[in-house]
Protein backbone atom coordinates (compact mmCIF):
# COMPACT_ATOMS: atom_id res chain seq x y z
CA UNK A 1 0.00 0.00 0.00
CA UNK A 2 2.22 2.78 -1.29
CA UNK A 3 -0.47 5.46 -0.94
CA UNK A 4 -0.85 5.16 2.85
CA UNK A 5 2.24 7.19 3.86
CA UNK A 6 1.17 9.97 1.47
CA UNK A 7 -2.26 10.31 3.02
CA UNK A 8 -0.75 10.50 6.48
CA UNK A 9 1.71 13.12 5.29
CA UNK A 10 -0.99 15.20 3.61
CA UNK A 11 -3.15 14.98 6.69
CA UNK A 12 -0.26 16.13 8.85
CA UNK A 13 0.46 19.08 6.57
CA UNK A 14 -3.22 20.06 6.44
CA UNK A 15 -3.52 19.90 10.22
CA UNK A 16 -0.41 21.96 10.67
CA UNK A 17 -1.63 24.58 8.24
CA UNK A 18 -5.07 24.68 9.84
CA UNK A 19 -3.52 25.18 13.26
CA UNK A 20 -1.63 28.12 11.84
CA UNK A 21 -4.50 29.92 10.14
CA UNK A 22 -7.59 28.91 12.11
CA UNK A 23 -7.08 30.96 15.30
CA UNK A 24 -6.53 34.09 13.24
CA UNK A 25 -9.53 33.36 10.98
CA UNK A 26 -11.80 32.71 13.94
CA UNK A 27 -10.69 35.93 15.59
CA UNK A 28 -11.34 37.93 12.43
CA UNK A 29 -14.75 36.35 12.00
CA UNK A 30 -15.72 36.98 15.64
CA UNK A 31 -14.63 40.61 15.43
CA UNK A 32 -16.67 41.00 12.25
CA UNK A 33 -19.74 39.43 13.86
CA UNK A 34 -19.34 41.64 16.91
CA UNK A 35 -19.04 44.77 14.77
CA UNK A 36 -22.16 43.91 12.78
CA UNK A 37 -24.33 42.83 15.69
CA UNK A 38 -26.79 45.31 17.14
CA UNK A 39 -26.44 45.14 20.92
CA UNK A 40 -29.60 44.24 22.77
CA UNK A 41 -30.96 44.50 26.28
CA UNK A 42 -33.94 43.11 28.11
CA UNK A 43 -35.12 44.50 31.42
CA UNK A 44 -37.53 43.03 33.93
CA UNK A 45 -39.35 45.88 35.68
CA UNK A 46 -41.02 44.74 38.88
CA UNK A 47 -41.52 47.93 40.93
CA UNK A 48 -44.31 50.47 40.64
CA UNK A 49 -43.14 53.43 42.74
CA UNK A 50 -41.87 56.80 41.57
CA UNK A 51 -38.25 56.10 42.55
CA UNK A 52 -38.08 52.62 41.04
CA UNK A 53 -39.72 53.79 37.83
CA UNK A 54 -36.48 55.55 36.91
CA UNK A 55 -33.92 52.77 36.41
CA UNK A 56 -35.79 50.83 33.69
CA UNK A 57 -36.81 53.94 31.74
CA UNK A 58 -33.42 55.68 32.05
CA UNK A 59 -31.50 52.59 30.99
CA UNK A 60 -33.92 51.70 28.20
CA UNK A 61 -34.00 55.20 26.69
CA UNK A 62 -30.23 55.56 26.89
CA UNK A 63 -29.62 52.13 25.36
CA UNK A 64 -32.03 53.02 22.56
CA UNK A 65 -30.09 56.27 22.01
CA UNK A 66 -26.94 54.18 21.68
CA UNK A 67 -28.67 52.21 18.94
CA UNK A 68 -29.46 49.08 20.96
CA UNK A 69 -32.58 46.95 20.66
CA UNK A 70 -34.43 47.12 23.96
CA UNK A 71 -37.38 45.28 25.46
CA UNK A 72 -38.84 45.78 28.94
CA UNK A 73 -40.97 43.10 30.55
CA UNK A 74 -43.30 44.66 33.12
CA UNK A 75 -44.42 42.29 35.81
CA UNK A 76 -46.07 42.55 39.22
CA UNK A 77 -46.01 46.16 40.49
CA UNK A 78 -44.00 47.12 37.41
CA UNK A 79 -47.29 47.01 35.49
CA UNK A 80 -48.18 50.32 37.16
CA UNK A 81 -45.59 51.94 34.89
CA UNK A 82 -47.65 51.00 31.84
CA UNK A 83 -50.83 52.68 33.09
CA UNK A 84 -52.16 55.42 30.84
CA UNK A 85 -51.66 58.06 33.53
CA UNK A 86 -48.47 57.72 35.57
CA UNK A 87 -48.37 61.28 36.87
CA UNK A 88 -49.50 60.13 40.31
CA UNK A 89 -46.83 57.53 41.04
CA UNK A 90 -45.87 57.61 44.70
CA UNK A 91 -42.78 57.11 46.76
CA UNK A 92 -42.74 55.76 50.30
CA UNK A 93 -40.10 56.87 52.80
CA UNK A 94 -41.63 54.49 55.36
CA UNK A 95 -39.22 51.70 56.17
CA UNK A 96 -36.74 53.10 53.65
CA UNK A 97 -33.74 54.22 55.70
CA UNK A 98 -31.71 54.85 52.53
CA UNK A 99 -33.96 57.67 51.41
CA UNK A 100 -32.81 61.18 52.34
CA UNK A 101 -35.70 63.38 53.49
CA UNK A 102 -34.82 66.87 52.34
CA UNK A 103 -36.91 69.88 51.49
CA UNK A 104 -36.84 71.04 47.86
CA UNK A 105 -37.36 74.71 48.77
CA UNK A 106 -35.99 77.40 51.06
CA UNK A 107 -32.43 78.62 51.63
CA UNK A 108 -29.51 76.23 51.14
CA UNK A 109 -28.98 75.57 54.85
CA UNK A 110 -32.63 74.52 55.11
CA UNK A 111 -32.48 72.31 52.01
CA UNK A 112 -29.42 70.60 53.48
CA UNK A 113 -31.24 69.31 56.55
CA UNK A 114 -32.01 65.60 56.51
CA UNK A 115 -35.33 65.21 58.32
CA UNK A 116 -35.01 62.06 60.30
CA UNK A 117 -38.67 61.21 60.83
CA UNK A 118 -39.34 58.05 62.86
CA UNK A 119 -41.27 55.28 61.11
CA UNK A 120 -43.95 55.43 63.78
CA UNK A 121 -44.62 59.09 62.97
CA UNK A 122 -44.56 58.49 59.20
CA UNK A 123 -47.05 55.66 59.58
CA UNK A 124 -49.31 57.69 61.84
CA UNK A 125 -49.73 60.85 59.79
CA UNK A 126 -52.48 60.52 57.17
CA UNK A 127 -51.29 61.60 53.72
CA UNK A 128 -47.61 61.41 54.65
CA UNK A 129 -46.82 59.36 51.55
CA UNK A 130 -48.55 61.84 49.25
CA UNK A 131 -46.70 64.67 50.96
CA UNK A 132 -43.34 62.91 50.52
CA UNK A 133 -44.21 62.14 46.88
CA UNK A 134 -44.97 65.81 46.21
CA UNK A 135 -41.63 66.82 47.72
CA UNK A 136 -39.85 64.17 45.64
CA UNK A 137 -41.50 65.36 42.45
CA UNK A 138 -40.40 68.91 43.23
CA UNK A 139 -36.82 67.74 43.92
CA UNK A 140 -36.81 65.91 40.58
CA UNK A 141 -38.00 69.05 38.83
CA UNK A 142 -35.47 71.29 40.60
CA UNK A 143 -32.61 69.06 39.51
CA UNK A 144 -33.48 68.90 35.83
CA UNK A 145 -34.18 65.18 36.07
CA UNK A 146 -36.69 63.98 33.50
CA UNK A 147 -40.32 63.53 34.44
CA UNK A 148 -41.19 59.82 34.34
CA UNK A 149 -43.96 60.27 31.74
CA UNK A 150 -41.48 62.12 29.55
CA UNK A 151 -38.90 59.35 29.89
CA UNK A 152 -41.51 56.74 29.00
CA UNK A 153 -42.52 58.71 25.91
CA UNK A 154 -38.87 59.00 24.89
CA UNK A 155 -38.53 55.22 25.25
CA UNK A 156 -41.59 54.61 23.09
CA UNK A 157 -40.40 57.12 20.51
CA UNK A 158 -37.07 55.32 20.33
CA UNK A 159 -38.78 52.00 19.69
CA UNK A 160 -38.37 50.34 23.08
CA UNK A 161 -40.58 47.25 23.10
CA UNK A 162 -42.80 47.28 26.18
CA UNK A 163 -44.28 43.94 27.15
CA UNK A 164 -46.85 43.27 29.86
CA UNK A 165 -46.95 40.16 32.00
CA UNK A 166 -50.32 38.56 31.28
CA UNK A 167 -50.32 36.57 34.51
CA UNK A 168 -50.01 39.76 36.59
CA UNK A 169 -52.67 41.52 34.53
CA UNK A 170 -55.07 38.71 35.47
CA UNK A 171 -53.83 38.48 39.05
CA UNK A 172 -54.47 42.16 39.80
CA UNK A 173 -57.71 42.27 37.83
CA UNK A 174 -56.46 44.72 35.19
CA UNK A 175 -57.56 44.78 31.57
CA UNK A 176 -55.44 45.72 28.56
CA UNK A 177 -57.47 48.93 28.29
CA UNK A 178 -55.87 50.11 31.55
CA UNK A 179 -52.53 50.36 29.78
CA UNK A 180 -51.05 52.51 27.03
CA UNK A 181 -51.89 51.20 23.55
CA UNK A 182 -48.18 51.05 22.67
CA UNK A 183 -48.02 47.80 24.64
CA UNK A 184 -48.44 45.38 21.77
CA UNK A 185 -47.61 42.20 23.55
CA UNK A 186 -48.76 40.46 26.72
CA UNK A 187 -47.01 37.24 27.51
CA UNK A 188 -45.42 35.10 30.21
CA UNK A 189 -42.07 33.88 31.45
CA UNK A 190 -41.79 31.28 28.68
CA UNK A 191 -41.89 34.05 26.05
CA UNK A 192 -39.57 36.38 27.90
CA UNK A 193 -36.77 33.95 28.70
CA UNK A 194 -35.83 33.16 25.08
CA UNK A 195 -35.65 36.93 24.48
CA UNK A 196 -33.36 37.34 27.48
CA UNK A 197 -31.25 34.42 26.28
CA UNK A 198 -30.48 36.25 23.04
CA UNK A 199 -29.83 39.60 24.72
CA UNK A 200 -26.36 40.92 25.55
CA UNK A 201 -27.59 42.56 28.73
CA UNK A 202 -30.44 41.50 30.97
CA UNK A 203 -31.39 43.41 34.10
CA UNK A 204 -33.85 42.78 36.88
CA UNK A 205 -35.17 45.97 38.42
Amino acid sequence: MGATPDVALIEQIVRQRLDEILPQKIEEKLAEMKANKTPSMTIIATKGTLDWAYPPFILASTAAALGWNVAIFFTFYGLQLLKKDISDLKISPLGNPGMPMKMPFGPDWFKGINWNIPNLVQAGIPGFESFASTLMRQTIKNNGVADISELRSLCLEAGVNMIGCQMTVDLFGFTHEDFIPEVKEYCGAASFLPMAQEADVTLFV
Partner: protein, 75 residues
Amino acid sequence: MNFDKDLDARGLNCPLPILRAKKALSEMQSGQVLRIVSTDVGSVKDFQAFCKQTGNELLSQTEASNEYTFFLKRK
Protein backbone atom coordinates in the same frame (compact mmCIF):
# COMPACT_ATOMS: atom_id res chain seq x y z
CA MET B 1 -15.94 76.15 15.31
CA ASN B 2 -18.74 76.16 12.78
CA PHE B 3 -21.80 74.08 13.45
CA ASP B 4 -25.07 73.28 11.68
CA LYS B 5 -27.29 72.80 14.69
CA ASP B 6 -27.27 73.97 18.28
CA LEU B 7 -28.62 72.09 21.30
CA ASP B 8 -29.09 73.81 24.63
CA ALA B 9 -29.02 71.03 27.23
CA ARG B 10 -28.30 73.33 30.17
CA GLY B 11 -30.15 72.42 33.34
CA LEU B 12 -30.92 68.93 32.05
CA ASN B 13 -29.70 65.87 33.87
CA CYS B 14 -28.76 62.32 32.89
CA PRO B 15 -29.87 60.87 30.48
CA LEU B 16 -31.67 63.82 28.87
CA PRO B 17 -28.62 65.53 27.25
CA ILE B 18 -27.78 62.26 25.46
CA LEU B 19 -31.39 61.62 24.42
CA ARG B 20 -31.82 65.15 23.08
CA ALA B 21 -28.50 64.90 21.24
CA LYS B 22 -29.50 61.62 19.69
CA LYS B 23 -32.76 63.16 18.52
CA ALA B 24 -31.01 66.23 17.11
CA LEU B 25 -28.47 64.08 15.27
CA SER B 26 -31.21 61.97 13.71
CA GLU B 27 -32.60 65.12 12.09
CA MET B 28 -29.22 66.03 10.60
CA GLN B 29 -27.25 64.95 7.52
CA SER B 30 -24.08 62.88 7.62
CA GLY B 31 -21.04 65.12 8.13
CA GLN B 32 -22.99 67.95 9.77
CA VAL B 33 -21.86 69.27 13.13
CA LEU B 34 -23.97 69.57 16.28
CA ARG B 35 -23.01 71.85 19.13
CA ILE B 36 -24.26 70.90 22.60
CA VAL B 37 -24.00 73.00 25.73
CA SER B 38 -24.66 71.19 28.99
CA THR B 39 -24.30 71.81 32.71
CA ASP B 40 -24.41 68.16 33.75
CA VAL B 41 -20.91 67.14 34.83
CA GLY B 42 -21.76 63.50 34.08
CA SER B 43 -22.39 64.36 30.44
CA VAL B 44 -18.63 64.69 29.80
CA LYS B 45 -18.02 60.96 30.16
CA ASP B 46 -21.42 60.11 28.73
CA PHE B 47 -20.83 61.93 25.45
CA GLN B 48 -17.47 60.20 25.05
CA ALA B 49 -19.15 56.83 25.53
CA PHE B 50 -22.07 57.81 23.31
CA CYS B 51 -19.76 58.76 20.45
CA LYS B 52 -17.61 55.68 20.85
CA GLN B 53 -20.66 53.44 20.69
CA THR B 54 -22.61 55.19 17.95
CA GLY B 55 -19.70 56.09 15.65
CA ASN B 56 -20.48 59.80 15.64
CA GLU B 57 -17.30 61.83 15.99
CA LEU B 58 -16.61 63.92 19.09
CA LEU B 59 -14.69 66.79 17.51
CA SER B 60 -14.06 68.67 20.74
CA GLN B 61 -15.18 69.18 24.30
CA THR B 62 -14.43 72.23 26.40
CA GLU B 63 -15.39 73.53 29.80
CA ALA B 64 -15.95 77.15 30.77
CA SER B 65 -17.57 78.34 33.99
CA ASN B 66 -19.33 75.02 34.68
CA GLU B 67 -20.70 74.75 31.18
CA TYR B 68 -19.58 71.95 28.92
CA THR B 69 -19.53 72.44 25.18
CA PHE B 70 -19.36 69.53 22.79
CA PHE B 71 -19.03 69.44 19.02
CA LEU B 72 -20.31 66.24 17.44
CA LYS B 73 -20.00 65.30 13.80
CA ARG B 74 -22.79 63.10 12.58
CA LYS B 75 -21.76 59.73 11.19
